[in-house]
Subunit: 344 residues, 2 copies
DNA sequence: TTGTAGGCGTTATCAC
DNA sequence: GTGATAACGCCTACAA
């Protein structure tokens, strides 16, 4: 199948030995070869449409020019954005980005598939759990890794994430300025960094505003999904606790709140204000348009790609760059799901 | 970097020659080898965590167990659904699915990148233009190809798509039953099969309902995007033509109509009904919830993956299975963007 | 049934 | 500056 032009054929066409052709074709070694010869080889390669065989090259160099990206779920629209950003910056440098979708990078299955079966040069991990371990092959080796979106306590790798603490500050202050005092929080799963950090931030910002956070007003979920948001909102309402606003740990769970509130005849924002987190695609078009924290996912992905590139080059040059951890600033999008509390 | 367990090491561990180990490890040739020996080898491989080196194997067998998928844009949520379906059926058989995002599979650049630079065993094309040619390498060779979502006039390959004609029939009949007679169509680009087929279907179903399709009520666009929908809707309104319903060729363009209509104080569905096509994620949550044609994207992707697998095995066995072309039935989702025309 | 050896297309290390 | 040669890890005739 698919047999393509080989280096030998280019060399024959140019009338040189194939090792010379190899040197001429490789920009890094081109200077070694006579300029005239190089030009001849390049012309021959162009004429025949030569492309180096990626497998042969990879076998020899032990590099595939392919980066793996582990995401939990492409159907949540924030991950395609992350992907697009990372893909853009990696493609610039000739790298491919290979997606693997699944729950947790730390599981042996996902690790082996993406790391071993595809021999990627590096791993961008967007699906880490808070105690995830680095994917490694059977001989305990691992690949250059960049965490994105989610961080961990356990993996010592550069990371690019959102400043969740600041983000939650934006919504809490917004609600406080509107006059809310009884504010509930639908917290994300506590095995994912975003869930933990946003929850802690919620408590911290409430306290710094002089407000209470009674335990019945904080409900944890098992996943950042609509259904989990629904369940949490039901629990919140069934507890009988009084509140005039809900801070959702992400947009999808806030959407789940929309559903339950509507079912029970509670109007947003008239009776209860609701905020999300992420500013996912089209969340400005749901009804009512959701007030949320806008996270620069594309930029996060792009930056993760760039960090990966520096990791790969510093690995080659042996320079021991320290892992950096970056948090990008989010901003508040005030829309129609928040309003002053109803006077009661 | 990343040096893993090799076949020789497994063979040494098992006390056999490495060619024997190779045969024992390969299910196809395992029967040749002594059952006892095979068991020993398998145990050794298990113990050491042996995984065949994908590049070495691929170089030798000329197969990478990787399928490329060309999509126009992962940010349109229908494509992640297609991807998820295809990935699921391919992963079952040990194949990887590699995404390449971009506009048209027929362009040399995208062809070369996905087909040559990654040496995929096959190509699932979801971004074909109507006159696209097969991606091929410099020696005019191509790979097994399956078209999905969009079809072409020019590529002789199996395809899996939606029955667009039937889908448009569903919305037109729905609007006719509501009492509409003056119905406009925002047509997709005419260089994409879906744009063409839906447009033709619109005309055909209107006529078979005894209704007219004056040219000013059909506006073509240059892409299936929100902005194009906006522009088309503006042209429609500025033409001064009278109509009480708009059939959008997809959901995103119908969303663009929502925007323009709202800006001009025209209420949906009271003044004008609007329908979409795709039933993309969260389109049931925009305001008003959109009546649309629901397309089984996940199933389409899954089927495309299966067709690819049969293509690959029939290629091996030399059986000349004819290209099949499948169209999956969509169904109508009636929501809140359609209503009887206002009595005037 | 098992061992031998050649080759897939590169790159890299030798001589010359 | 260039040519010969080995090696990357695996598969597979062919020979034993």
């Amino acid at each position: 199948m698919l047999s393509s032009v080989t280096l030998r054929e280019v060399a024959d066409e140019a009338g040189v030995h194939y090792s010379t052709a190899s040197r001429a074709l490789n920009p890094a070694t081109r200077s070694i070869v006579n300029a005239k010869t190089a030009k001849k080889v390049l012309a021959a390669a162009e004429r025949l449409g030569y492309r180096p065989h990626p497998l042969a090259r990879g076998l020899r160099t032990n590099r595939t020019l392919t980066i793996g990206m582990a995401v939990p779920d492409l159907l949540n629209p924030v991950f395609p954005q992350l992907y697009a950003g990372a893909e853009a910056s990696l493609r610039d440098q000739g790298y491919w980005l290979l997606v693997g979708a699944g729950d947790d990078c730390g599981t042996p299955k996902s690790a082996s598939r993406i790391l071993i079966d595809q021999h990627v040069d590096g791993l961008i991990v967007a699906n880490a759990h808070i105690h995830s371990t680095l994917p490694q092959n059977p001989t305990n080796q691992t690949a250059p890794t960049v965490l994105v979106n989610r961080t961990t306590d356990t993996i010592d790798a550069p990371s690019v994430a959102c400043d969740d603490h600041a983000g939650i500050g934006l919504v809490v202050r917004h609600l406080v300025e509107l006059g809310h005092t009884d504010i509930a929080h639908i917290a994300g799963p506590q095995f994912i960094s975003n869930g933990v950090i946003r929850r802690q931030a919620f408590v911290a910002w409430m306290h710094s505003s002089g407000l209470e956070t009674p335990p019945e007003l904080i409900v944890e979920t098992d996943g950042f999904h609509i259904d989990e948001g629904r369940r949490a909102c039901e629990r919140l309402l069934d507890s009988g606790a009084r509140f005039t606003a809900i801070v959702g740990a992400n947009d999808l769970m806030a959407l789940g709140c929309y559903d339950v509130l509507a079912e029970r005849g509670i109007r947003v924002p008239h009776d209860v204000s609701v905020t999300g987190f992420d500013d996912m695609a089209y969340i400005d078009r749901v009804h009512p348009a959701m007030t949320t924290v806008s996270v620069p996912f594309y930029e996060m992905g792009a930056l993760a790609g760039e960090v990966m590139l520096t990791l790969l080059t510093s690995e080659d040059s042996g320079a021991g760059t320290l892992p950096t951890s970056t948090r990008l600033r989010p901003h508040l999008e005030v829309r129609d799901s928040t309003a002053p509390p109803a006077v009661s």
